[in-house]
């Protein structure tokens, strides 16, 4: 089997699984600054799926692609530590505020620049929105088929790839021709851990913007080892139409947010005494709630 070219889509997200009390502002909006950021969990599964194919077919090239603020370069480094061959950052202030439509447009512009790929994989959804939309929207814009909720790659053939999908009511095995986009379900294998050797090799990988602070030692190192320079693509680099990106390219807008307050009902407070419980049961029977 010939080696494949795989693009992994990954996102840095606020850790919504651990929302502390100070993560909410008094007006009910989210204080993003108070949430730590993590590698989106489903995207780690997608990364594993790609690296697993690389294990099976030596020579397979895995490129990790992320869009986000500078801090998101962590995603590229994390990808390197676990075994990807290349990483690309899409980063530009003008991409900010994008909803899924604008995000998929932006990512697709970058994928078109990469041009050569057999397989694109991403997590099923990101925990900051749980939308699960960007994968299918990218597939549509690239005019390629999509296979969502992939749990395992069963077979990799010359002209098609066979995968098992996890649906809410069962499983389905499908085949798809290349190029194809897959979204990966959280029930697939967990991502392998970092390799110490790779951490050593890539821990000084930085984007040009990250280097702006000026660190002579790092600069010298980057001159000597060009693989440490993380490519960083701007609006112009990917030839993006500014009306289709960021806030301007996003049809969905948040009108308002409210924090959830449990609505207090008039409750009857009882003890565990026999008379209290018997009284309640009798009331429930009388009102035909039970019985």
């Amino acid at each position: 089997m010939r080696p494949l070219k795989i693009i992994v889509l990954a996102k840095q997200v606020p850790d919504t699984r651990h929302v502390g009390p100070d993560a909410m502002k008094p007006d009910g909006t989210v204080n993003r600054g108070k949430l730590s950021t993590v590698f989106n969990p489903d995207d780690l599964h997608a990364l594993e799926l790609a690296l697993n194919i690389k294990d099976r077919i030596p020579g397979t090239q895995v490129t990790i692609l992320t869009m986000g603020p500078q801090k998101a370069a962590d995603i590229i480094r994390e990808g390197y530590y676990r075994g990807v061959d290349d990483g690309i950052m899409i980063s530009d202030r003008r991409f900010g505020g994008a909803d899924t439509l604008a995000t998929s447009y932006t990512i697709v512009q970058a994928i078109k620049k990469i041009a050569d790929y057999d397989l694109i994989v991403g997590g099923r959804q990101a925990i900051d929105g749980d939308t699960a939309q960007v994968g299918p929207q990218c597939a549509d814009k690239l005019n390629i088929p999509q296979v969502t909720y992939v749990e395992e790659i069963l077979e990799i053939k010359e002209d098609e790839i066979i995968a098992r999908r996890r649906l809410e009511t069962g499983v389905e095995t499908v085949s798809a021709p290349y190029p194809v986009l897959m979204t990966v379900h959280g029930s697939s294998p967990d991502c392998r851990s970092r390799k110490a050797k790779k951490v050593m090799k890539y821990k000084y990988a930085r984007t040009k913007t990250e280097m702006r602070k000026g660190d002579p030692v790092l600069e010298a190192l980057h001159l000597k080892r060009p693989h440490l320079v993380i490519p960083e693509w701007s609006v112009e680099d990917i030839n993006a139409d500014v009306t289709k990106i960021g806030l301007a390219g996003s049809p969905t807008k948040v009108k308002s947010v409210s924090s959830i307050v449990l609505t207090a009902t008039e409750s009857k407070v009882l003890t565990d005494s026999d008379s209290d419980i018997e009284g309640m049961i009798k009331e429930l029977i009388k009102h035909h709630t039970i019985g």
Binding site: P14, R17, V19, M24, G28, T29, V30, D99, T100, L101, G129, A132, Q133, V134, P136, Q137, D140, K141, P145, Q146, T148, Y149, I162, L167, E168, T169, G170, E172, T173, V174, S175, A176, P251, T252, K253, V254, K255, S256, V257, S258, I260, L262, T263, T265, E266, S267, K268, V269, L270, D272, D274, D276, I277, E278, M280, I281, L284, I285, I290, G291
Partner: protein
């Protein structure tokens, strides 16, 4: 007035539960707007399918009937729905937030270059003033959904790139027949003229669909246990109570994670949303992710040894005590008092 449009899922000639919920919700929106309700269903052997759809008050139903359309595959369904949406130009389009709807809706939103709100739990109609344009937009869809792990509710609107599309969570919209004799105009879509061979490049080799034996959604009474139940064995107590009351057993995520009860019985944001007649919460603290899935129960009983447990604020009866003592007493007094 532009229509409200619902994509219906069907398998083996049976319109999915979620689609019936969506048709009901769609009708309520359509009534508020004074707009017609339209729907589309794609599958095989669909002769007479309108009898399951019309009673929800559907004015126009598009049917794509072709053996290749079942089981569901993305590309042919996307081609058919896109074609009809372009032609009908509705103002609102609803899909289920199911494996099918979440696969299909984004693909279509991309084709139509419109907005799509995922996983909504409340739908409403309202206005919005856009400061930058100094313009009031009226009769917009309010697509309201939990966000940030369920800690807030966000109202998402889309005033300029229509249609306004949303996927809707299963089990949150009330199913309601509008008129059992409602007359629907049925339009059969010429599938061959819309789809092409390249829409069938993804092939289904094998399928195992398990009819889930647990049906929490339709259970009138649910006895749910949390981490406070303490063990798998103690859950038997809850099962006994559920059995004699004619209900089902459910659990919080902490109870599922602890292995006390199966995952398919989890209630809440990442489990099932239920709205039973009676919900008994035993040893459940009442985290927002849990209450999101049960707060619409008609009557709630909380059994908790902590009088300050947040769930008590929702409960109609708060029993402060150990569930190991309270539940056997409930069983005993039920047996004594039920006829």
């Amino acid at each position: 007035m532009k229509s409200v449009f619902v994509y219906c899922e069907v398998e083996n000639q049976k319109v999915a539960e979620i689609s019936q919920e969506l048709l009901s919700a769609g009708k309520r929106l359509a009534e508020k707007l004074g707009a017609p309700l339209e729907a589309m269903v794609n599958g095989k052997d669909l002769k007479g399918i309108e009898s399951q759809i019309a009673p929800y008050g559907v004015d126009k139903l598009f049917v794509g009937d072709d053996t290749r359309l079942e089981p569901y595959r993305t590309l042919p369904h996307a081609a058919l729905v896109t074609k009809v949406l372009k032609q009908e130009d509705p103002q609102i389009v609803l899909f289920g937030a199911t494996s099918v709807g979440r696969d299909l809706a984004p693909r279509i939103a991309s084709k139509l270059n419109c907005g799509l709100t995922a996983d909504t739990t409340i739908l409403d109609i309202g206005d919005h003033f856009v400061k930058k344009e100094k313009k009031e937009y009226t009769d917009l869809l309010y697509a309201i959904r939990p966000a940030f792990g369920g800690s807030i509710m966000a109202n998402i609107i889309n005033w300029d790139m229509h249609p306004q599309m949303a996927t809707v969570r299963e089990g949150v919209m009330k199913k309601e027949i509008f008129d059992a004799n409602y007359k629907t105009k049925v339009i059969s879509v010429k599938v061959n003229e819309v789809v092409s061979d390249t829409d069938f490049v993804v092939k289904i080799i094998e399928r195992h669909i398990e009819e889930s034996e647990v049906n929490l959604k339709d259970a009138p009474i649910i006895v749910a246990g949390g981490y406070g139940v303490g063990s798998k064995e103690n859950f038997d107590l809850l099962k006994n109570l559920a059995n004699i009351l004619g209900g089902e057993v459910g659990g919080s995520r902490a109870a599922v994670d602890a292995g006390f009860i199966d995952h398919n019985r989890q209630i809440g944001q990442t489990g099932t949303t239920v709205r039973p007649k009676l919900y008994i919460a035993a040893g459940i603290s009442g985290a927002i992710q849990h209450t999101a899935g049960m707060q619409d129960a008609s009557l709630i009983i909380s059994i908790n040894n902590d009088p300050e447990a947040p769930i008590n604020a929702l409960a109609d009866y708060v029993i402060t005590g150990d569930l190991g003592i309270v539940i056997p007493k409930m069983i005993q007094y039920y047996k004594e008092n039920a006829k």
